[in-house]
């Protein structure tokens, strides 16, 4: 049994312009202790997906359909009270903005021990002890002092560590990390990723990492899922994906990453590759492949036939009519 299994997730928003299909028929799963990354550009539905799992999306205007199972249990049948027990307990989240994700009027310790008290029924004293423990775990120096500090007295990196401490306080089985390093300096990013990797090893927590940064994916995840316009366009092991990206969108994303030394190696004037066009308006109905309007390889068939997700090689799925099958494509 998978730890988390999502099948045919649909998240739609009622807007003035019509129904926005933010997530359209997404399926994925995570095993215990596994690290899965969801990659895609802004607005592709990554965060909406993660919020739907915990039912944290405001509904209405949102509408969630599909099957979300945690340890085999259908989450859509759970009451709000049961969901609350899950949130921050078995499944916890860390968010993109450490600066604004902590409540400014309560101390770090108060906010961490709130989670502990909610899920373990510990008294104030035991919860505070646990808060100090997790602050040690995430590598915050002098935790006995920091525990009584207000968020505004901590740096961005420290705040993100505190957020992680809060998320880990109740030993979750699944940690959803929504762009955990995006708002941080590069050196701090590396530290936080190291920390998450280390914690995963030590606590055997499965991590669902949501990011737009392929560098973070390569560093961190075991499996990667690439999303575009609310759909999964490719899924593979990290090594496979980086060695042989099969979907033109994934290839485009990789070409758009600057590489060290690229400019100096003779091609002085070569600009960074970009994917032409823009993300489609998800309130508009369309036929065929979502990526076709921006795809360099699009042909007639793409505009009227949805390619659907297909296993192109062992454990490597892509949704493209022209993605090479089995034989690895040589990408010179």
């Amino acid at each position: 049994m998978k730890l988390l299994e999502v099948r045919d997730l649909q998240v739609h928003f009622e807007t003035d312009k019509g129904v926005n299909r933010a997530v359209d028929g997404l399926s994925f799963s995570i095993d215990t202790g596994e690290a899965l990354a969801i990659v895609g550009e802004s607005g592709c539905g990554k965060s909406v997906t993660s919020m739907s799992v915990l039912r944290l999306l405001p509904t209405p205007p949102g509408k969630i359909a599909g099957d979300i199972r945690f340890r085999g249990e259908d989450l859509s049948t759970k009451s709000e009270r049961e969901m609350r027990r899950l949130r921050g307990g078995e499944i916890s989240m860390i968010f993109q903005e450490p600066m604004s994700s902590l409540n400014p009027v309560y101390t770090i310790g108060r906010q961490i021990s709130e989670a502990v008290r909610l899920h373990t029924g510990a008294n104030t004293r035991a919860a505070r002890k646990r808060a100090i423990e997790v602050l040690i775990l995430v590598g915050i120096p002098s935790p006995e002092k920091r525990v009584d500090e207000y968020p505004h007295r901590l740096s961005g990196g420290m705040r993100q560590r505190a957020m992680i401490a809060m998320a880990l306080a109740c030993n979750p089985a699944l940690l959803i990390a929504d762009e955990p390093t995006t708002a941080l300096d590069v050196t701090i990013q590396a530290q936080i990723l190291d920390l998450l990797r280390d914690l995963r090893k030590r606590t055997n927590t499965a991590i669902l990492l949501i990011t737009h940064d392929l560098g973070v994916v390569a560093e961190f995840a075991e499996r990667v899922m690439v999303m575009y316009a609310g759909r999964k366009v490719e899924e593979a092991n990290v090594a496979d994906l980086f060695a042989h990206p099969r979907h033109p969108y994934t290839q485009g994303l990789m070409d758009a990453v600057p590489k060290l030394g690229q400019v100096r190696s003779g091609k002085m004037s070569k600009a960074l590759a970009e994917i032409p066009g823009r993300v489609p308006d998800l309130t508009q109905a369309f036929e065929g492949c979502v990526f076709a309007p921006r795809c360099p390889r699009a042909e007639d068939v793409c505009t009227h036939l949805d390619p659907g997700l297909e296993e192109k090689a062992d454990g490597h799925f892509a949704a493209c009519h022209f993605a090479p099958k089995e034989a690895a494509r040589d990408k010179a």
Binding site: L54, L56, R84, R85, L86, R87, G88, G89, S92, M93, F95, E97, S100, S101, L102, N103, P104, V105, E114, A115, L118, H119, Y150, H152, M163, M166, A167
Partner: protein, 313 residues
């Protein structure tokens, strides 16, 4: 912090001095001669002149101001022109109903308005939200005395639950005291509830969009905890500010309400004194009201540091 409180108290001194100067000049800038009124229609010019000298009205402005203010600082507001009683005695007799009215009004207003505002923000766009906001608009726009008469007619005359008018001192028991204050306090609280509920809703709407609210829900906090522990405290600075500003409205409303419900308070005293041109009393009551306002706003400024640890002076 200590030095801030000290500086903040020092800063209120010029305010109070300015109010004193203004209040004192009322005697000179308003029409009508208290000596002539006191002397009555039949008095001769000589009699009026004698009264004027008796009251000290013949001396110069600076001399009388210094004399009056040094008295005020010692708690001596002079003698009423009309009753010939010390003003401080008259105020002591009248202060309890007004103070009771203000306190009960504030307690009622805050305990009703804040939860209403939170509810409206939480269910924003819903029927409940619209009903609360409609009530708020009504609370603003219907005059206090109209609300007063409607409430008195309903709850006192028709239903007979509460006394129509009059005041029962606290010394006769807390329940009769509270009964005598419920109608006037509710009446006075209506628009106060309206402004506090509106500002609570507006601030809460903004706060509920914040990332830390999502964090709170993400860790499994109940909706009550999200609203009242995580959101409301962050929304408190504007709410408390409006409560402080609203004190002026409560004070001016008290003047009207005391007449409607026949409460023997400072509001009635000042109305009567204005009609009698009893300047020492008018000056003293205005001064006391401004002092109350200054003190409450000082307390509110200080409360910010308790509410929000980021605010340090």
């Amino acid at each position: 912090m200590g030095s801030y409180i000290f500086r903040r108290i020092l800063a209120t001194i010029p305010v109070v001095l300015f109010v004193m100067l203004f209040v004192f000049s009322l005697l000179y800038i308003t029409p009508g001669d208290p000596a002539a009124i006191l002397a009555g229609d039949q008095a001769t010019q000589a009699e009026i002149e004698a009264i004027r000298i008796d009251l000290g009205l013949d001396r110069s402005f600076p001399v009388r101001f210094v004399e009056w203010s040094s008295g005020v600082l010692r708690g001596d507001f002079g003698v009423s022109i009309f009753t010939r009683l010390p003003v401080s005695t008259m105020i002591q007799q009248r202060v309890e109903p007004t103070l009771s009215l203000m306190v009960v009004t504030m307690v009622i207003a805050i305990t009703i308005a804040v939860p209403l505002g939170v509810l409206a923000a939480w269910k924003h766009g819903s029927l409940i939200d619209r009903a609360i906001m409609l009530f708020a608009v009504l609370g603003f726009s219907v005059p206090v005395f109209v609300i007063g008469y409607v409430l008195a007619w309903t709850f006192a005359l028709q239903l007979g639950w509460l006394p129509v008018q009059g005041y029962t001192p606290f010394s006769e028991g807390p329940w009769p005291w509270l009964r005598s204050l419920l109608l006037p306090s509710f009446t006075l609280a209506t628009f106060y509830i309206a402004i506090i509920a509106r500002i609570t809703r507006a601030t809460m709407l903004e706060i509920l969009q914040q990332d830390y609210i999502r964090t709170a829900r993400g860790k499994g906090a109940s909706e009550q905890a999200v609203l009242f522990v995580h959101a409301l405290r962050n929304a408190s600075v504007p709410i408390v500010t409006v409560i402080g500003i609203g004190i002026t409205l409560v004070i001016s409303g008290a003047v009207v309400i005391e007449s409607v419900f026949a409460l023997p308070g400072l509001g009635r005293l000042i109305v009567d004194s204005i009609l009698r041109r009893d300047y020492p009393v008018i000056q003293a009551v205005i001064l006391i009201f401004s002092f109350v306002y200054v003190i409450i706003n000082l307390l509110i400024d200080l409360s910010y540091t308790v509410i929000d640890p980021r605010i340090r002076y």
